[in-house]
């Protein structure tokens, strides 16, 4: 049973074995509108928590996606180049962005759980 953690910038991270899968939340995709393109990093790149790791573009906006935790990129979701709409249709599943080899698992503890994130989004209105 994998738990999902959330950031204040609306990224989610789910641990599967020793890898972390990262994507953006349903709230984020609603705010963005139709996603037209996702710019993903190359495999092998090392990223630091809080630094930009990807860019998601809709027709009228481009948003940076920040790494929820530090690690090394081991895989990116190649399906997004042909079907960026997956981010809208299935943001928590098929719309995943990348997989990281976790550098420091303790960083996960500082992130929000599902309930906290739901309350956080509530408070944004």
């Amino acid at each position: 049973m994998s738990t999902v953690k959330y950031t204040r910038d609306h990224e989610w991270v789910r641990v599967e074995d020793d890898l972390a899968v990262v994507g953006i939340t349903d709230y984020a995709q609603t705010q963005l509108g139709d996603v037209v393109y996702v710019e993903l990093p190359e495999a092998g790149r090392r990223i630091e928590q809080g630094k930009e790791v990807a860019v998601v573009e809709s027709v009228k906006a481009a948003s940076e996606v920040y790494a929820p935790i530090s690690g090394e990129v081991v895989a990116v979701n190649a399906a997004l180049s042909g079907e960026p709409g997956k981010v809208n249709a299935d943001p928590m599943g098929g719309g995943w962005f990348l997989k990281l080899r976790i550098a420091d698992a303790k960083q996960l503890e500082g992130l929000m759980d599902e309930a906290d994130y739901a309350a956080f989004v509530e408070g944004l209105h």
């Binding site: 037209v36 393109y37 573009e57 809709s58 027709v59 009228k60 906006a61 481009a62």
Partner: protein, 451 residues
């Protein structure tokens, strides 16, 4: 005043609605210390008659290249623009419309830009083109910056015979964009220069920029240079300063170019003393998301009809702001439309024939010049421009001929003043507008001045 519709009665009525005592009252946020109580001490309003008189007086002080035999090239070319072009671009719907951000009321502009993009891709033999840049020189600078982004390298190598304005603009952008451009020595060396150029490519080179035909007129095969670039992980940027050459010369896309930065002024647009001109920009499909500038895409509307919209906007300044691919906002809209209409009138048959005619006139010019004693034609393979070596510095010869009513071309010293060894070179272009009489007048003048 003829352009201001408000009457004094209107102004009073409007002030009444606003609740202000006077128009000056609306400016109350302006600090009094900087408020001008009187308009600046400058001439007062003039009617059309006087304005025409004043500006015609200035126009009359110039010698238009259309009024005398003229052989000037070097990045700006005098071609015949069919009468229909100028009439169509002056339609108020084209002339006075804005950037097509509201696609439902700008399909005219958007469709024409889509046709323009297609024409540019076709003539350069590249995959995609944008909706134009300011001019060839800034197109070239943007091409270098794009190559830097794609290769993650920061050094560009510029061929020696790249137009000096293009080289200088790229150098300015490089200085402030924290990348470098290295220029090879200039000279009418043709093929030799390309081999030397290729030998300078290393693992830090983002791109090589080469102009074809070169500034001295040389037409070269760039295929080997392209291969050398690609082996080193660098890109080949090809500059085309005379767009009509693409009707006859093997295009950059067939010689391995990754980016084409060109000047489109030759089609649809008069020389205009240097502006406004028309930057063309075309790339390989895989690079499209790093391409700067505005671009139009095809789509459907809600009723399934084909239509056009500005697209890939998220690269641009109004969305990415500091992360944009470029800060560019305007393109050369109306100049691009003039190009599109001219190309539409020419079509395949006309464009190729126009290019053949240009080449034939230049060949005739070369033969007549070669017959002159004391003068040597240096360019063997050319399109419509060539370089001759005079027995004396070229600039004074050009001035003397200008005084006799002949614009004999561009002395190399105008573009390379720092090169004393090029001072005896004269660069001449011939287009479909140069008659045999023009050429005869030129050669007679040269014969006289050089004797």
């Amino acid at each position: 005043m003829r352009y201001l519709p408000l009457t004094d009665a209107d102004r009073s009525a409007m002030l009444g609605v606003i609740g202000a005592a006077s128009v000056d009252d609306l400016f109350r946020d302006v600090p009094r210390s900087v408020w001008l109580d009187e308009p600046p001490a400058l001439p007062r309003a003039m009617g059309e008659i006087e304005v025409e008189r004043a500006l015609m007086r200035l126009a009359a002080k110039n010698v238009p290249a259309s009024a005398v035999p003229s052989f000037l090239g070097c990045g700006v070319y005098r071609h015949h623009v069919p009468a229909a072009v100028d009439h169509l671009i002056q339609r108020g719907e084209f002339l006075t419309s804005y950037t097509p951000y509201q696609p439902e009321v700008s399909q005219g502009t958007l469709q024409s830009m889509f046709e323009f993009q297609t024409q540019v891709a076709l003539i350069t033999a590249m995959d995609v083109a944008n909706a134009s840049m300011y001019d060839g020189a800034t197109s070239c600078a943007e091409a270098v910056m794009m190559a830097n982004r794609l290769t993650r390298r920061r050094k560009a190598i510029l061929a020696g015979d790249l137009h000096p304005h293009y080289r200088e603009a790229a150098a300015t952008y490089a200085r402030f964009g924290d990348f470098s451009v290295v220029t090879r020595p200039a000279g009418p060396a043709g093929e030799n220069d390309l081999a030397a150029l290729a030998s300078k490519i290393d693992g830090e080179t983002s791109c090589v920029v080469v102009q074809n035909p070169g500034s001295f007129g040389d037409v070269r095969d760039l295929s080997l240079l392209a291969e050398a670039c690609h082996r080193a992980g660098a890109l080949l940027v090809v500059v085309v300063a005379e767009a009509v050459s693409l009707g006859l010369v093997k295009p950059p896309g067939e010689m391995g170019a990754d980016i084409v930065a060109a000047e489109g002024q030759s089609l649809g647009n008069a020389p205009g003393f240097g502006g406004p001109h028309l930057g063309l920009f075309a790339v390989r499909e895989k690079f499209v998301r790093q391409m700067p500038g505005r671009v139009v895409g095809e789509t459907r509307d809600v009723e399934g009809r084909r239509g056009f919209v500005l697209t890939l906007s998220t690269r641009e300044q109004h969305i990415r702001r500091e992360k944009a691919t470029s800060n560019i906002c305007t393109n050369s809209g109306l100049c691009a439309l003039a190009f599109t209409i001219h190309m539409a009138l020419l079509g395949e048959a006309g464009f190729t024939r126009l290019a053949e005619l240009n080449h034939a006139r230049a060949a005739l010019l070369a033969d007549r010049l070669a017959a002159l004693p004391r003068l040597r034609v240096l360019t063997r393979c050319f399109f419509n421009e060539l370089t001759v070596r005079l027995p004396v510095p070229a600039a004074p010869v050009v001035d003397m001929l200008a005084a006799r009513g002949v614009l004999a071309g561009v002395p190399a010293s105008r573009l390379w003043p720092e090169r004393a060894d090029l001072a005896d070179l004269l660069i001449l272009a011939a287009t479909e507008l140069n008659t045999e009489d023009d050429i005869a007048t030129l050669t007679a003048g040269l014969r006289e001045v050089l004797s």
